[in-house]
Symmetry: C2
Subunit: 212 residues, 2 copies
DNA sequence: CCGTTCGTGTCACTCGGTGTCAAGACGCTA
DNA sequence: TAGCGTCTTGACACCGAGTGACACGAACGG
């Protein structure tokens, strides 16, 4: 799950690039995720038990918890994985770029990934935003992203995060924008353009983000 | 719990101002909250069961859940109740006041209440910020506050929340400041001054909050 | 004094989540 | 090909959060 790209590797030598065991593990992950999505989106989060998801995927409940930390994890990971690269995305931006533009690009990475996945990502977002338990877990993840973003911002601008509130606030603002865009996108059933919404949101935040 | 002021009413006629049943209920709430605080702060959130809290307060587990929706609720409610008035606090500010100042005052209300409760509030905040399960629930509450704040901001400025991102973003910024202040206050073991931190945070946000 | 209402404890149950263990599949080596 | 260690799995037992049902007793109203 950490690097989905492996799935497209092809065996070129007598030894496979990825082991059989790895492929089997990925197969189970996919099957479980698929089953969870189908059942949860159809019947609601609370109406489906972990046993049902596991049975639908053809494994035991115990095995489910060997792959996912919690019932929420199956769904949240879908988005959460997208956000892990957010701080790295910021680090990749040129140092001369103003914070508002750099942060906008960093946040656009997971947002763009959302758009690509199309229907699956949209349903995940809608399910998360409408289910309190999932929403809570998602916010927890966002708090982790905020720490990373904050640290990277402090490094980038040579600020001391222990005394200076700016990095923490700027990271929070960027994620506020992220959340707002996700909400609009979800409410519009995918009709709204995430990139346009992001630009609009950062236009509002820019005066504070780029203040001297 | 919705109106703690009743506790200070005194009986002036032959009929008590509040019924015996009400006072008994409040007594149970206090006892349960007290027990939860003592046990959870001493041993950690996961190391204490609801049965233990209930037994310590002299009631059954079933009764605990008649007063609190979940184990997290006992602690989170402590802060959550403070935040319910945030939107009302904003509504009470003069219409001519710039958003940054109005929001700062609105957010200061629960923050000031924190300072008054002294040690109890500090321990609650520290427990919440250090316990993932509690943190998640707290963030959920904050999301509720954000909706209220957002609606009140839209009303206040005559903006349409369906098309205009500003109210949603401004509310998010205010709560980002709130969270940052809480974090600093918690990390400093109560040494930092919430009011000063709040002023500092809103100085950063003001350019975006008050932009034309 | 009696019927009603309300709060409570007990019991039984569901479900999320974990520890343990034995059995099977795989890879390596002789 | 037989044997051996490693990894994954399912089965089972178990804990704790949370809920529904019911019966009991105390307070309230007539």
């Amino acid at each position: 799950m950490t690097d989905p790209a492996w799935r497209y590797h092809r065996r070129v030598t007598s030894r496979p690039a990825v082991s059989l065991a790895q492929r089997k593990r990925q197969l189970v992950v996919d099957e479980l995720t698929e089953a969870a999505f189908r059942l949860l989106t159809a019947q609601g989060f609370d109406a489906v038990t972990v046993d049902e998801i596991a049975a639908d995927a053809g494994v035991s409940k115990r095995t489910f918890f060997r792959y996912f930390a919690s019932k929420e994890d199956v769904i949240v990971r879908f988005l959460a994985d997208l956000g892990t690269g957010i701080a790295a995305g910021l680090a990749a931006r040129p140092a001369a770029e103003p914070p508002s533009a750099a942060l906008r690009h960093a946040v656009s990475v997971p947002l763009a990934a959302c758009g690509e996945h199309g229907d699956r990502a949209l349903r995940a977002v809608q399910l998360i935003l409408r289910t309190p338990a999932l929403h809570a877990r998602f916010l927890e993840r966002q708090a982790d992203w905020r720490e990373e973003l904050s640290a990277e911002l402090a490094r980038r601008q040579g600020r001391d995060p222990a005394t200076d509130l700016y990095p923490r606030l700027a990271a929070g603002m960027a994620l506020t924008a992220f959340g707002a865009v996700l909400e609009r996108w979800s409410d519009s059933d995918g009709a709204a353009d995430p990139a346009a919404l992001t630009a609009e949101a950062f236009a509002v935040l820019a005066p504070a983000l780029d203040a001297p």
